[in-house]
Symmetry: C2
Subunit: 306 residues, 2 copies
């Protein structure tokens, strides 16, 4: 049976494809654009298709036993600009996917949810999966609504699903648009001698997870029979100020950041309790933050040289 | 300032309009069709408009201080037939309404949520508002998602909102389509000497609230400054078997019901803990179930004679 990876050409998706290929699994990748940073991989079947514009093409689920769904047209920072569009492009196509899987008899779905947004302003630290869910971004509400549809499908029609509530993934191949991930954004700004901008006073704390650690967790979820909702983070909190400092040291250019007003949809601190994923999938994050930043810095420099 | 009642020509809406008119308030009613069972009320402004097809018309929010939003194109029994359509017709227009209110500076919104579906299969009895939220119908997920957008809007932009999680409302003017409410459906079947159909074995328990009690609560919420989520039920559970029996006695025609297979999206028992609404709004349900059924029976007979 094949694995269909929706959004498999994106930042996280491309690493999940790597992790699944490394296990010798047969993959079909569906994405609206090809990978940005490398050519198509041999042995992988690619379908260029935009799920926000048309239903799943016929044959996309042929011989597929498991779907991994990572596609999203928004990030937390952009989703509140037009929540109606966020719902139309991300919630509705996912609900249609669930229906198509039911009709086709495809039983297992790994969905990339968001540990950084579904909880809202945390009441506990680290945050367990049963923490109240009060998102303050449309991105978080849409991820939560998808989780609810997955739960309903499990109860009514027996879907096997895993929702991975990812924290802040970072690493090679993260987009350069500036909205996806501070670590890549800061590294590129250093490379071009541009100022480092911080939203707020730098005290905001996030749980940074190297993308290959997230991809490894996802691959284990694909191969497991476990179901449910799992936090996917490093379990450790790092302030933006500390990220600025670490990056400055690694790139050998320590400059004072430019502070910008805080953003209303940014919660002050998110650190995930990742014991459930660790116990269920025998998984542990492997890459320490400083090593992961060095790794990303090497990739950013290499990209710019191309 | 006016009150805009969206869905004010529907079953619940028409009673809320009555309760607000009785307080001498100035009303604008927006609905996609006129009231079915009576002519337009003098002194009320009516706007015929379908929010699922076009945004709020210009002027709809002019001089409006409070919006009451009751419109829904689905009921629990129909929403799972096409969840994507449910989202498109109910979630997206509500999110657009919230945005229009923000732009116009309209600060208060009373939203009709669903105590019968947002909790899913209850773990406690009666159900308090902080019970886990695991709906097994798209109707419940959409109501829950709206509540989350309301919460976000309150946190980010200061919206004052009340979400009323209504149980099973019944009473005069409930639709005759057969999908909305067992009490009205059974009474009509008795009137025409048709068999009474029961989904499942009759043991399903619901919390029936007379629509004028719900309308009274809604009117109090309009006039209050309280915000948040409130259960809106009678606080008492009644089985479908007991409803069949009560109705048989009231109409003077006791027949054995026809049992149909249970429906997957029906949870076994929902009884709401309504203390929060009682304490916050000084409200108590006034109409006992037997009196409410007699009242509805009188209305059903009168309608059929017209």
């Amino acid at each position: 049976m094949k694995i269909l990876v929706i959004g498999g050409c994106g930042f996280i998706g491309s690493h999940i494809v790597d992790a699944l290929c490394a296990r010798g699994l047969s993959l079909r990748v569906l994405d609206r654009s090809p990978e940005r940073f490398r050519p198509q991989l041999p042995g992988v079947e690619y379908l260029l298709h935009d799920l926000t514009r048309a239903p799943l093409p016929p044959g996309a689920l042929a011989d597929v036993g498991t779907v991994v769904h990572l596609a999203s047209t928004t990030v937390p920072a952009t989703s509140n600009q037009d929540p109606g569009l966020d719902i139309a492009e991300n919630l509705i196509p996912t609900v249609r996917l669930i229906e198509a899987m039911r009709q086709r008899g495809t039983r297992r779905l790994i969905f990339l949810s968001s540990g950084g947004t579904v909880y809202g302003v945390p009441e506990r630290d680290p945050i367990p999966e049963d923490h109240p869910l009060n998102p303050i971004s449309s991105y978080g509400i849409v991820k939560l609504a998808v989780e609810k549809y997955l739960y309903m499908e499990q109860q009514l029609h027996g879907l096997d699903y895993v929702a991975l509530r990812a924290s802040n993934p970072y690493g090679p191949r993260q987009g350069r648009s500036g909205v996806q991930g501070v670590i890549g954004t800061y590294l590129r700004r250093h490379l071009h001698d541009e100022p480092i901008e911080v939203w707020g006073d730098g005290s905001v704390v996030r749980d940074f997870l190297h993308v290959t650690d997230l991809a490894e967790l996802c691959a284990r979820a694909v191969l497991s029979t476990r179901t449910g909702v799992f936090n996917a983070g490093s379990g450790e909190g790092t302030s933006i100020a500390r990220i600025v400092e670490l990056i400055g040291r690694i790139v050998g250019r320590e400059t004072a950041p430019v502070f910008r007003p805080g953003r209303s949809f940014d919660v002050p601190r998110v650190v995930l309790d990742v014991r459930r994923a660790a116990e269920s999938f025998g998984w542990q994050p492997q890459i320490p933050l400083s090593q992961g930043i060095e790794d990303t810095w090497a990739w950013v420099r290499q990209q710019e040289e191309l």
